[in-house]
């Protein structure tokens, strides 16, 4: 708060909309589900480690789905894993978001043709908000995906009634 630090005589009032305030708060602390699947998970780890430091965007890894806002599906989703992912997604509380990281979870990736045990895209079991392409996507790409998600959240409205 360097700009505002002890600059005023009394406390001040800020005028904003409810949506803006809520969205600002939500998008600046997207807690992520700590949940690695395959090769892409290593890049996800790199993205939250020293050099890329995803925590500066407020992304904190949590180990339980109940505390999380965003699920990063990082890697190959097999048929055996798909039902577990669905279940983990169901355990997250609304509003929840999904980033699909890497070709595998986008569409099956290198296992698209002969992978008899690979789900051809995680969007067949859970809704996906942002797709990050690459095999594996660089940490920068994942961060870009995250910023795209923040943009999406910024333009949402939680308080207005949805048109039926």
């Amino acid at each position: 708060m360097g700009l505002l630090d002890q600059k005023f005589e009394s406390s001040n009032v800020v005028i904003t909309t409810m949506d803006d305030l809520l969205n600002w708060a939500r998008l600046s602390s997207l807690w992520q589900m700590q949940f690695g699947l395959a090769c892409c998970a290593i890049e996800m780890m790199a993205a939250s480690a020293s050099n890329f430091d995803m925590m500066r965007f407020g992304v904190i890894p949590r180990a339980t789905p109940r505390q999380c806002d965003v699920m990063i599906v990082s890697g190959t989703v097999t048929l055996k894993m798909a039902s577990r992912i669905k279940r983990l997604y169901d355990q997250m509380s609304e509003p929840r978001y999904v980033i699909s990281m890497g070709s595998c979870s986008n569409c099956g990736g290198p296992y698209w043709e002969h992978g008899y045990h690979v789900l051809k895209g995680v969007d067949r079991v859970i809704p996906v908000d942002v797709y990050v392409p690459g095999c594996p996507p660089r940490p920068e790409a994942l961060i870009e995906g995250l910023i795209k998600l923040q943009e999406k959240i910024r333009n949402e409205s939680l308080v207005q009634k949805k048109a039926v």
Binding site: F35, G36, A38, C39, I42, S50, N51, P110, Y111, V118
Partner: protein
């Protein structure tokens, strides 16, 4: 649920019934290092039985090998098997395929392969120790090690353009020669890295809390390790001096001078979790020694000279093996009269090492199970394939 035979009496003489219970750990669990699921039978907090369930990352490796249109196309899938040590995987596949095809590769290729696979071994051990530290409650080493791992990845990226999955080591050669400036940058990295290595070693491995959590935990005795065909740091941690780089030299490892590190039980029993972790820590120093020697005597040559234009081996089979960061990694290739392999079977060290988990965690506390899993250093891509 089964009942234990033991009965506990209260002071008034009432018999308390105790029962074993089953706890499910994974597939989503922060310390199973991927999608491993363990069915743990507990008596109170004591582990009675551990049953690993696998297959959550089965990606049909063998099926893909049969369906590719050439032997070379298998390499990217080999990369994705053990995704934290792709270079050594490629190397193992190349060694096996070259044995099958009877290709002699130029010396420069051998040297570059050795440099790459030793750098990869360091990168892999950095992840292993870093995440193991997190499991034990130490977050700092992870950050230090990932910082330096990024520098290794930069070197790889300079060479072949990829950070994680390279497709760099081809059958008979390499996809690119070393770029200009690689040698200087590697030397620079080695100088800087030695400092981190020493610092983190003091921070983590001799930390009182860390020793308390790891010494005398998950002891793997020598004969058990051999009976279960463990390899790599698992086996050497138990005091068995066995390293394929020395005992079955492939490429040109016999030209370099380095030591095989074994666990000595400094903090407790030989073969405990501390020993296994320390073997990895010390192996990085040896890898640095090999890289330094290889850089100093790097021969000239064309790295693509021996790459065959069309691969069609005579029917037969070959087994090639290398010492990966996790142990003996081998590929068994069966060739028929065609341009695609008939079958490729991988001997995955992580899978074999994981099989011993039930034996070594009996009688441990549930919290120590996390330490034991971390010290085995599994990569699920390789376990399930």
């Amino acid at each position: 649920m089964t009942e234990t035979t033991e009965t506990i009496k209260t002071s008034t003489g009432r018999v308390l019934r105790t029962e074993e219970m089953v706890v499910n750990m994974g597939p989503q669990h922060p310390s199973t290092h991927g999608v491993l699921r363990l069915e743990v039978v507990l008596d109170g907090e004591i582990v009675v039985d551990v049953i690993p369930h696998m297959g959550y990352l089965h990606r049909c490796f063998e099926k893909h090998c049969e369906h590719m249109t050439s032997y070379q196309q298998v390499v990217p899938y080999v990369d994705r098997m053990d995704y934290v040590a792709s270079m050594t995987n490629e190397m193992a596949y190349a060694v096996a395929a070259e044995k099958l095809l009877k290709i002699e590769v130029p010396e420069r290729v051998h040297y570059i392969r050795i440099i790459m696979s030793e750098l990869q071994r360091i990168a892999s051990h950095l992840i292993a120790i870093g995440t193991f530290g997190i499991d034990m409650g130490a977050f700092t080493p992870f950050l230090y090690y990932f910082r330096d791992r990024e520098r290794i990845l930069e070197l790889f990226e300079m060479t072949c353009g990829a950070r994680l999955l390279y497709n760099y080591i081809w059958i008979g050669g390499l996809s690119h020669d070393l770029p200009p400036g690689f040698i200087e940058k590697t030397r620079e990295f080695i100088t800087d890295f030695k400092k981190t290595l020493k610092e983190v070693n003091d921070l983590l491995n001799y930390n009182e809390i860390f020793i308390k959590r790891t010494a005398n935990v998950g002891v793997l005795p020598k004969d058990l390790a051999i009976n279960y065909a463990c390899s790599g740091p698992m086996l050497r941690g138990s005091g068995v001096s066995w390293d394929l780089r020395r005992d079955d030299p492939y490429t040109l490892y016999d030209r370099f001078e380095w030591d095989v590190i074994v666990g000595k039980g400094e903090m407790g029993t030989v073969g405990d979790v501390w020993d296994r972790n320390m073997v990895r820590q010390r192996e990085m120093w040896e890898s640095l020694r090999i890289i330094e020697q290889a850089l100093a005597s790097l021969p000239e040559g064309d790295v693509q000279k021996a790459i065959p234009k069309r691969i069609r081996p005579v029917p037969g089979d070959a087994y090639g093996r290398v010492e990966g960061p996790r142990g003996e990694l081998g590929f068994y290739i069966v060739a028929e009269d065609s341009v695609t392999p008939y079958r490729i079977k991988a001997r995955a060290p992580a899978f074999v090492n994981l099989s011993v988990i039930n034996e070594i965690s009996k009688g441990a506390m549930l919290a120590d199970l996390v330490a034991i899993i971390g010290s085995i250093d599994i990569v699920l891509g390789e376990v399930d394939r």
